[in-house]
């Protein structure tokens, strides 16, 4: 979607390796989120940010960390990837109202 980009779009990594996914926005929105989407579970919140250096955990935060050093960038790190973290990861932004805008997603496969 215009204004929010995720990278990489696809990644295959080995179990035990660290992985960082990037979300970049050009909308200057305050709130940024990381979700994962899995069959049978829908979208589940991993972490979110409500400002630079202000982050909090979501529903499924174990095994993930995040950082937001600039308004426009929100990084999701898997410290030591596991097969259970194979998923599609979506970043989303909002300005405190309800108009969430989602990125196009990152498909991560952990082998």
């Amino acid at each position: 979607d215009a204004g929010i980009t995720q990278s990489p779009r696809h990644k295959v990594t080995e179990t035990g390796t660290p992985v960082t996914l990037r979300c970049h926005q050009t909308e200057n929105h305050r709130y940024m989120y990381w979700y994962r989407q899995d069959p049978g579970h829908g979208l589940r919140l991993i972490h979110y940010s409500y400002g630079v250096k202000d982050t909090d955990k979501g529903e499924v935060s174990d095994g993930y960390s995040v950082s937001r050093s600039k308004t426009e960038d929100f990084l999701l790190t898997l410290e030591s990837a596991t097969s259970s973290q194979t998923s599609v990861y979506f970043c989303a932004i909002s300005e405190g109202s309800y108009g969430y805008t989602f990125g196009s997603g990152t498909r991560l496969t952990v082998v």
Partner: protein, 113 residues
Amino acid sequence: EDKVVQSPLSLVVHEGDTVTLNCSYEVTNFRSLLWYKQEKKAPTFLFMLTSSGIEKKSGRLSSILDKKELSSILNITATQTGDSAIYLCAAVPYGGSQGNLIFGKGTKLSVKP
């Protein structure tokens, strides 16, 4: 525990049919409900519903919220193959963190020619 339940989980119809997708919620301090359409990539916003009984309409799609029944429906009339997608609903509670969107698991709609 807050939850959102969508039904059916999947649905197959033919072009021209009318479909109704359901979303029920049990959310503390409910504020509003969102509907999204997800094709191959990112969910895209369809409707936001805050007031009960007021229909939102966009072309062949319409949606309404019933706060008494804690539910919402999404109607699609004269379906087309391009309507094939996963439809997600999400509840937004008052207060708490801004990360509190509570998603249902989605309804997968397949429209056959």
